[in-house]
């Protein structure tokens, strides 16, 4: 199995082991190693990428940092190489984002620190840390216009003299102050280090050769300490408090407040968090997401792409091409272009069904994220998710699960602890029906009547809660508490949304595509060798005896292996009573995520855990389905 890289340990990939010359991101350093590296650093949501997009223009190379899902963009500005790093609150190794930003900063020649002037109190901690690291720094104060509205004055000159680095006022949205960017890079310099920290640095400096690394080691950064074979310092807290105090002094000097007015955004933001208003807001948001993803994309667009482009044009064409070389219906032909063929079904599935859905879901997610709604939703549901051993952050994979469980399983990486990842993955694989499946389930349930719909929903929801609760009780450890800042509600910027969506969709497709092919191949081979029939025969007694469904339903279940919605679709043709429909749909929802999601789960969670969950879904599905059958039928 491939061990998941843990927070801060991603650099243990072989090429990084041999240290000294680390590279920022992927594909960097293949040319022009001498270019000056300008690295953009800032807290989350400070508008960093607007600066980056402005500076780099069209030619941007977005890549994943090795071993992480963290995005690092690289572009060219005049004669400089510019890097956009993930937003962080400080430089250390607590999360993947921090580790990536840390390494980018360590390699930087010039750091451009983007600061949200409305949140100086929060952002200057990072600024001061960058300065304490001895990096050549310049500060760009963003949201200067917002200051005006909020009745806050920031004395940029005074701030510059406190920090010892140049400070410029900007408003990224209108590109005001962008003419200073070049000047900022040119004038960037080492700032005023905190005095006590400066003294401490001296002793460590002789051992590392770089102030930045010396500082991080003093602050107890285990990863950097290990790189130098030095024991990490134990003074993180003292130094953080020291820095915090210095920042507070600076703030008191440079910031003055006139009376503040409330913004509409902040009122809405408050509503989104409070359950009484937040639940209706969530309902409305989900309804719009449904209209967009569920109706416009899943039905209208996919209806066209899958039927017309996939089944209508692509599949006959590729079958024709392959038939030139292979005898139709021969075993290799079947594996390649047969009913479940890797070139026929899988291509149609990936390009004409999954891709539009994934793009739509990521788009919806990016909108929720950039508007500031998502962190508020996470806050609202935090307590409820505590009951199943998760915290508010888990809403993201759970929401995505309704789009594609495979995609959501990958997203569980953003959860803090292994325990949370384990719980979230299990819930996703058991109880969350993906969009492909929901469509078929909804159609069948509509036919079966209102009561069937209620029983189905209640059963799935109960399983969701029960699985979560059992795992929460059974697994050792605690749920890490939620601790997030809520950025102000803002109108999202289209270019950011598009870029984010494109990056994520591309990344997902790149990562998941091979597994969909492997899955199809496995099933294709099972079909050719007759193993598929054997499997159906094994399941048949359970199907007729315990679930009280027709024998053919077993086929539908096995088809669920290939694609979850195939499983459900296979039930269309069977003469079932409404109760039987409920039993069959519950069973099929609970068991077996498609093969691609199994593969991805094996990669994320290790084969042992993945097989355990996979096997568990079979047992769980037949147990719950059977129980329901005994009660209903």
């Amino acid at each position: 199995m491939s061990e998941r890289p843990l927070t801060g340990q991603y650099h243990s990939s072989p090429h990084n082991h041999i240290e000294k010359h680390r590279h920022i991101g992927v594909g960097i350093g293949e040319e022009d190693v001498d270019r000056i590296k300008v690295v953009l650093v800032g807290n989350p949501n400070v508008g960093k990428s607007i600066f980056f997009n402005h500076m780099s223009g069209l030619y941007v190379d977005v890549s994943n940092y090795p071993g992480t899902t963290v995005e690092v963009s690289r572009g060219r500005f005049n004669t400089f190489d510019v890097f956009d790093t993930p937003g962080v609150y400080g430089i250390s190794s607590f999360t993947d984002e921090e580790s990536v930003t840390r390494d980018c900063v360590l390699e930087a020649d010039v750091v451009l620190n983007i600061v949200d002037s409305v949140h100086l109190e929060r952002d200057l901690f990072l600024t001061q840390q960058l300065i304490d690291m001895g990096k050549k720094t310049a500060v760009l104060l963003n949201f200067s216009d917002e200051l005006e509205k909020q009745g806050i004055d920031v004395d940029a000159k005074l701030l510059a003299s406190y920090l010892g680095v140049p400070v410029f006022n900007t408003t990224a949205v209108t590109k005001k102050g962008f003419e200073h960017i070049e000047q900022a890079i040119a004038e960037a310099r080492k700032g005023e280090q905190d005095l006590t920290i400066h003294r401490r640095l001296h002793t460590m400096l002789s051992r590392t050769g770089s102030e930045a690394e010396a500082l991080l080691i003093l602050e107890g950064d285990e990863v950097i300490a290990q790189r130098h074979g030095i024991a990490p310092g134990e003074d993180r807290e003292v130094m953080y408090i020291e820095r915090r105090n210095r920042v507070n002094i600076i703030i008191n000097a440079v910031l003055s407040e006139r009376n503040r007015r409330k913004r509409i955004g902040s009122t809405f933001g408050r509503w989104a968090v409070n359950p009484w208003t937040g639940v209706p807001i969530l309902a409305v948001v989900l309804y719009f997401v449904y209209l967009f993803v569920g109706v416009l994309i899943a039905q209208d667009l996919v209806g066209f792409t899958e039927e017309t482009l996939g089944h209508g044009i692509w599949e006959p064409w590729i079958q024709g091409v392959v038939s030139n070389f292979l005898a139709p219906q021969s075993w290799l032909w079947t594996i390649l272009v047969g009913e479940f063929g890797a070139l026929s079904m899988t291509v149609t599935y990936l390009l004409f069904l999954l891709l539009p859905l994934v793009v739509a879901f990521y788009l919806a997610l990016a909108l929720m994220e950039d508007s500031g709604y998502l962190p508020r939703l996470a806050t609202m549901v935090d307590r409820s998710l505590n009951a199943i051993g998760l915290n508010g952050r888990a809403v993201i994979p759970l929401i995505l699960g309704f789009g594609c469980v495979t995609m959501a399983t990958i997203t569980t990486r953003l959860l803090e602890s292994e325990r949370e990842k384990r719980i979230a993955t299990s819930i996703l694989q058991f109880a969350i029906p993906c969009s492909a499946q929901i469509a078929v389930v909804a159609a069948l349930l509509t036919g079966a009547g209102f009561q069937a719909m209620v029983i189905y929903t209640a059963t799935i929801f109960t399983v969701f809660v029960v699985i979560g609760t059992i795992l929460h009780r059974a697994l050792p450890g605690e749920t890490p508490a939620l601790l997030i800042d809520l950025p102000p509600m803002r109108i999202p910027r289209i270019d950011n949304i598009v870029r984010k969506t494109a990056f994520r969709a591309y990344h997902f497709m790149k990562e998941a595509t091979p597994w969909f092919f492997v899955g199809a191949l496995v099933v294709g081979i099972m079909q050719v060798t007759g193993l598929l029939t054997v499997w159906q025969n094994i399941l048949a007694p359970f199907t007729t005896g315990w679930l009280q469904l027709p024998r053919e339903a077993a086929t539908a279940f096995v088809m669920g292996l290939v694609r979850r919605d195939f499983g459900a679709a296979g039930l269309y043709e069977l003469p079932l009573t409404p109760d039987q429909i409920v039993v069959a749909l519950v069973t099929i929802t609970l068991f077996v995520p498609c093969i691609a999601s199994l593969m991805v789960m094996m990669k994320e969670r290790g084969s042992k855990e993945a097989m355990l969950i996979w096997f568990g879904t079979w047992v769980g599905a037949f147990f719950v389905g059977g129980l329901l059958s005994q009660l209903l039928i």
Binding site: I241, A481, L482
Partner: protein, 82 residues
């Protein structure tokens, strides 16, 4: 006026201002300090959600704190003092 009674943050009512008396040890401590939540600092309670998830304001920054963490942060009411 009530005299400095120490209570966990998740018991604080909406609209109150509090003085932080103690921040728990552990992984989140560094993050709390970065956000400015440390001993001797003032916070405003914006909202207390059912179950104890807290929404606080540290100057112009809204921060959500899960119930278990909020329960481990000790504060005293300082509304009258400010």
């Amino acid at each position: 006026m009530q005299n400095a009674e120490v209570i966990p943050l998740h018991k604080v009512r909406k609209g109150r201002r509090v003085l932080v008396v103690r921040v728990p040890e552990g992984k989140t401590r560094a993050q709390l300090i970065r956000l400015g939540i440390l001993k001797g600092e003032f916070l405003k309670c914006l909202q207390r959600l059912p179950g104890g998830t807290m929404l606080v304001e540290k100057n112009r920054q809204e921060i959500a704190i899960g119930a278990s963490l909020a329960g481990a942060i000790l504060v005293t009411d300082a509304t009258e003092v400010l």
